[in-house]
Subunit: 167 residues, 2 copies
């Protein structure tokens, strides 16, 4: 594994921490992103990240639970391999928006404890209405993405990265 990839793995660890995952989960994802194998073994991950068995065991389970990673098993091989899931963008977004809807519910609950309306109840009503609306809107957004994605992805691919294919 090259130095720049190792460095990226640590960076990914830090970055994914910002999204509420553990650093180790970020490192594993980073490793799965930059490594050149279709799927990698428990031991390979352990070696590459210099982490303990227990940590790899627990963290891969977490990543599988949230759907970012899937276990792969091969015939005639008792090991488990791991790879990045082909998680659809839609399901990732929907999960995130569910959190917003939950946030909206906390606001509603607070509003309902008040005797009368004021500036704050107006605000919580607006914000919670918005998040609940957004929860409904997400399907339309994703339909639009489905219609446009082919062009967008092509354009992105030409502008940024993936240039190696054409050399």
């Amino acid at each position: 594994m090259t130095e720049d990839k190792l460095q990226y793995i640590e960076e990914a660890g830090m970055a994914f921490e910002l999204f509420g995952m553990t650093r180790m989960a970020g490192r594993i994802l980073g490793y799965l992103i930059v490594c050149d194998n279709e799927s990698v073994s428990f031991n390979e991950i352990m070696g590459a990240l210099k982490a303990s068995k227990g940590s790899i065991s627990g963290t891969t389970k977490q990543l599988i639970a949230v759907g970012f990673v899937e276990p792969v098993s091969l015939p005639g091989d008792r090991k488990t391999y791991f790879r990045i899931s082909n998680l659809e963008v839609g399901s990732i977004l929907r999960e995130r928006i569910k959190l917003f809807v939950k946030f909206a519910e906390v606001l509603d609950k607070g509003r309902n404890l008040k005797e009368k309306n004021d500036r704050v109840t107006d605000w919580t009503l607006e914000v919670s209405s918005f998040y609940k609306w957004l929860g409904d809107e997400v399907d339309l957004i994703l339909q639009k993405w489905e219609r446009e994605k082919e062009n967008i992805i092509k354009e992105n691919s030409e502008n940024y990265g993936n240039k190696k294919k054409s050399t």
Copy 2:
């Protein structure tokens, strides 16, 4: 402060913790949501939450920094008061989506470290294209909200909570 409100404050503390804030920040927000004053003093918050001066000082600063709370100062009164900001839903959403765009950039960076394309580069390209597209799309979504919000909010207000006004 009634028992159910005190309980709500603790619940809000736990809930906001899920969104990456500290429990104390959640409690302060919860308090500002359910208390019946337009704005509340440092000391009142301290008393209501039974927390230390230092903690209230630090946490209110945090909440002000991220825009959820604003300090209010009154003429002829040397105290600082605090209240929930009228933060627009649009700016909250834009901030959130910025995080997704950052996530997209981490994926791009990983993809660019690879020698050749495979299943994973295809996936990271799609996901990062999506998040970057979403970053652009947010303005259209918010425009739609502006057009529809009046009706949605009214409906929400009738269906859920805020019934006290009419009694």
